[in-house]
Symmetry: C2
Subunit: 248 residues, 2 copies
DNA sequence: CCAGGAAGATACGTATACAATGGCAGCCAG
DNA sequence: CTGGCTGCCATTGTATACGTATCTTCCTGG
C-alpha cells in the first residue's frame, strides 16, 4: 500500500530544463479520468446507493493521495451523486422519494422546454450521432447489459440538451440524468428499464422534422412513462415504524 | 474531557502570524461562514469580476489554512462564481455575453415554469415574508445601496423558487441568481438596477391571488426587462485592440 | 535602443503527518 | 440480565512541507 509510483519525472531527471510547452494538464486530466470512472461506476450501478466510499481505499485503488480523492468526492457531492456526512465519510447517495419526484419534475420542465430549441438547431450530423447513440443503447438493452444501457440513455438525454445551445441548461440536465440513474437503481423495477426501446428513435424523428411541438409532447410522455415505471415506496430504512409493523 | 487546548485570539490586525486558532468541532460551520462571506462579497460586487483570489491571502484573512480555502474555492468554481484556471489560481468569473444569454434563458424557462406551483403552494406566512423582502429591497434601492439591493433581489427570486416545493429546481434557481448578479456587475448600466421597484410587489399580488398564469406572464416580462436593461457588448478583455483605441 | 533569455520569486498542486471525532466493544454496576 | 460507561480503533479533517510551473525582472547581445 506504500508503493508510490514516481512516474511523473521518470525521463526528465537529468535535464531540469524549463519546458515552454508545459504539459500542465497531466494531473488534472488524471483526476478528471478518476472522476469519470467513479461517476460512471455510480451511474452504471456498479456502485450501489448506500455503498461507502472510503478515501483511503479510493486513493489506493487509483494510485493517488487522499487529497485528490477528496476533491473528486466533493465534486460528486455537489452533484448529489455521493453524500458527504460530516465525520463519517462519503457514500453513494440514496435518493429519497421526494428527491426522485423533484428530479423528474425538473426534467419534465427543462427537457420539454428545451425541445423546441433543439428542433430548431439540430443538424444532419447531430441526427446521425443521436441515431448512433440510440442504436448502441438498443443493442446494450438487447444483450442484457443494463448498466451500459442506463449510462447510454443518460448520455443520450444529455447530448440532446447540449444541442439546444444553452450550455447552462445542458449541464443541469446532465446532473439530472445522473441522479435519475441513481433513482432507477433504488426505485426501478428490475425487468423494466428506464427508456423504452424505440422512444428515442421516435423522438429523433420529430426533431429531424423540425416539429418541436410534437417533440415536446413526446418527451413529456417519455419522461412520465419512466417515472411511472418506478415503484416508489418509502423503505423507511432509517426509522422502521415498529408500531405499524407489529400492528399496535 | 480533554480541554487542553486554549483558545487563542484571532488577531486579524496586520502582521499577525498564522496562528492556530481554536479548531474544535465548528470547523465545518466556520468554513460555511467563510464560503458565504466570499459568496456575498462577489454577489454584492465588492469583489469585481476578474479580481484574483489568491489562496494564501484568503487563508490569512480568514485565519485558516489553504486547504480549507481551496475547498471553498472549488465549491464556488462549481457554482460558476469563480473561475479556476490551472496553475494560475482563482479569480471572480467574468461572464461572457453568451453565458449571460444562457443564464437568462434558463431563468426564463425555470422561474416562469415554477410560478404555477408557487401560486398553488404559497401561504399567508410566505406572502408576508416575501413582502418584507421586497420592502427591504426597495429601501436599499432608495438609499442608494446598490450592493444590498442586488443581493436582496437575488434572495427574493431564490426564496420564490423555494416556495415551489421543488428543492432541486430551487437550488438551480439560486445558482442562476448568483450568476445573474455577476452578469449585472459586468453588463449592467450603473443607473439602472436589476429589478424595478414595484415589480416584486406586483408579482406577490398575483401569487397571493393564486393566479399562476398571470404570475408566469409577469415573471417573463420581468426577466425580459432585466435582460433588456443590460448593455451586452463584447469587451475584448483579452486582446484590447490598440489600433482601435488609439485611432489607427 | 530593443529583444531574447535566464534566474529568481511567487503561487499553485500534491503528499504526508497529526489531531480530533464517531463508533464499537468490553467491563462494571444495579 | 440489562443498561450505562469508559477505553481503544478506525477514519476523516486540517495543517504544513515540498515540488513544479509560471511570471517578472534584469542582464546581455545584436
Amino acid at each position: 500500500m506504500n508503493q508510490r509510483q514516481s512516474m511523473t519525472d521518470a525521463g526528465e531527471s537529468g535535464g531540469a530544463k524549463p519546458r515552454r510547452l508545459g504539459k500542465n494538464g497531466d494531473g488534472a486530466e488524471r483526476h478528471e479520468a478518476i472522476y469519470r470512472t467513479i461517476s460512471d461506476a455510480i451511474i452504471e450501478h456498479r456502485l450501489k446507493p448506500g455503498a461507502r466510499l472510503r478515501e483511503d481505499a479510493l486513493a489506493e485503488v487509483f494510485g493517488t493521495s487522499r487529497t485528490g480523492v477528496r476533491k473528486i468526492l466533493q465534486r460528486l457531492a455537489l452533484e448529489q451523486l455521493v453524500t458527504l456526512t460530516p465525520r463519517r465519510g462519503a457514500s453513494v447517495t440514496r435518493p429519497t422519494a421526494e428527491e426522485a419526484k423533484d428530479v423528474f419534475d425538473a426534467r419534465q420542465m427543462v427537457e420539454c422546454g428545451l425541445m423546441p430549441e433543439v428542433a430548431r438547431h439540430i443538424k444532419p450530423d447531430d441526427v446521425r450521432e443521436l441515431r448512433d447513440m440510440a442504436r448502441r443503447e438498443r443493442e446494450a438493452l438487447k444483450s442484457g447489459e443494463q448498466s451500459r444501457a442506463i449510462k447510454l440513455s443518460a448520455a443520450f438525454h444529455e447530448r440532446l440538451a447540449q444541442l439546444s445551445g444553452n450550455a447552462t441548461l445542458a449541464a443541469f440536465v446532465g446532473q439530472l440524468c445522473s441522479r435519475s440513474s441513481l433513482i432507477l437503481a433504488v426505485y426501478g423495477s428490475s425487468g423494466h428499464l428506464g427508456c423504452e426501446s424505440h422512444d428515442h428513435d421516435d423522438l429523433i424523428g420529430f426533431l429531424e422534422a423540425g416539429d418541436g411541438e410534437r417533440a415536446t409532447a413526446f418527451m413529456g410522455r417519455h419522461l412520465k412513462a419512466i417515472e411511472a415505471s418506478l415503484s416508489i415506496v418509502e423503505e423507511e430504512q432509517e426509522a422502521p415504524d415498529l408500531h405499524e409493523i407489529f400492528g399496535v
